[in-house]
């Protein structure tokens, strides 16, 4: 085979392969949402995080604003300490409410932020005071059964 045709085909092959990789990264994966923009760190304590994992998304009004960067157990308080990195573009009031939510019935867990009314904004390294833990399905079922049992029989 002619050297130039060979080069052409190999060129097409390599470009197609790299294009496939880029397409996977941008269209299928979340590289496009990996914000290279600057972030700031905040943390919050939860009594129970349920199935929350590092890299879980943080949303406010359904918009992705950051990611969970670390989860540790604070042995002083025996509560889960969740550190999050939030996009610098999105500023939240000091009394913002952090809530562990589930996307769909069996979906992944994420943190929802509900802004409060404080004038001052959260700064890097500060703590979100108001939190609500994850809903644990077993507790819910337990409560439901307890209530059922307490109901007077018809």
């Amino acid at each position: 085979m002619e050297r130039t045709t060979l080069d052409l085909w190999v060129g097409i092959f390599v470009v197609a392969g790299i294009a496939a990789l880029v397409m996977l990264a941008m269209k299928v994966g979340n590289l496009s949402t990996y914000n290279v923009s600057e972030t700031y760190q905040v943390h919050a304590y939860f009594t129970n995080i349920g199935g929350l994992k590092p890299k879980a998304s943080i949303k406010s009004a359904g918009v992705l604003v950051g990611r969970v960067t670390g989860i540790t157990l604070d042995t002083q308080r025996y509560e889960a300490k969740v550190t999050m990195s939030l996009d610098k573009r999105y500023q939240f009031p000091k009394d913002t409410f952090a809530n562990i939510l589930t996307s769909g019935l069996l979906g992944e867990q994420y943190i929802g932020l509900m802004p409060g009314g404080d004038e001052e904004m959260l700064k890097d390294g500060e703590q979100l005071k108001k939190t609500q833990s994850a809903v644990v399905l077993e507790d819910l079922i337990g409560k439901f059964l307890y209530n059922k049992a307490a109901e007077p029989a018809k």
Partner: protein, 262 residues
């Protein structure tokens, strides 16, 4: 003594297997050592990229499309029962990027390009082309083996990426175009669930490892084949069998290392 005989047979086979693994490792290290020459003359690698990569394109693309379509169909049937058809994109994409892309592409690569490599090198040996090259003071590992090795190592991740990308479109075609899953949730849930580093990069690493394994096995079997017609055909069969098993075993090990520890 039939028992002693079968023990002896087992012993003989084990010793042989270990011996061959050692030889293959030495062969691999020699290939790395003599690779410098190949990079200085990159057109040798380009020529091999054509016969390994470009020639495998059609089988990879067609297989990827169908695997994606089957995933779309099966995934829909299963997810429908839980009312979460919108997660179809996640299922198709994760299945392809993490497992099926690297593994199936590598299996196809082993039977398409790997067997061809073994047969080619085995025939070169049988027709004394390799001896002739040695007599011309040209190291056959540097001139014949190393360019093919690097072509294989470069092609495999690209082929696996193509396989996954085409497969995602296959799943999209069946799921969204034909069955009518919501297009928006198909893509958005997929993007939310597929992590670039965790899933896509790990898939690329997998296919890189598989590419190395398949190419080394194929080249070694060819180089080590008895220089006869039966020798070459036997070596070609062994390439496909050994590299398929190696791919699946390595896949388990890599998956355990990447995703198992959490």
């Amino acid at each position: 003594m039939p028992i002693a005989k079968s023990f002896r047979a087992i012993g003989h086979r084990s010793v042989n297997a270990v011996w061959r693994i050692g030889l293959a490792t030495r062969f691999f290290l020699l290939t790395l050592r003599y690779s410098g020459n190949g990079f200085r003359r990159f057109h040798l690698i380009i020529k091999e990229l054509f016969s390994t990569g470009v020639m495998s394109l059609i089988i990879i693309v067609v297989a990827g499309l169908f695997v994606g379509m089957v995933l779309g169909l099966q995934g829909y049937e299963t997810l429908k029962r839980y009312g979460s058809e919108s997660a179809l994109g996640v299922m198709v994409a994760l299945g392809l990027v993490r497992e099926l892309g690297p593994v199936v592409a590598a299996l196809l690569f082993a039977s398409r390009a790997g067997s061809a490599m073994t047969a080619e090198i085995g025939l070169m040996k049988a027709t004394e082309q390799i001896s002739a090259m040695e007599m011309m003071a040209v190291n056959p590992i540097a001139r014949i083996v190393a360019p093919r090795f690097w072509a294989g190592v470069i092609s495999m991740p690209l082929l696996a990426a193509l396989f996954s990308a085409v497969g995602v479109f296959g799943g999209y075609f069946v799921g969204v175009v034909q069955i009518g899953v919501d297009e928006g949730s198909f893509w958005s849930q997929m993007q939310a669930a597929v992590d670039f580093r965790e899933d896509i990069l790990n898939g690329v690493i997998k296919s890189f490892v598989f590419g190395t394994a398949v190419t080394v096995i194929a080249l070694f079997e060819g180089y080590d084949a008895p220089p006869t017609a039966e020798g070459v055909s036997g070596a070609t069969t062994r390439t496909v069998v050994t590299s398929s098993l190696a791919i699946l075993m390595l896949d388990f090990v890599l998956t355990a290392m990447m995703f198992g520890g959490k």
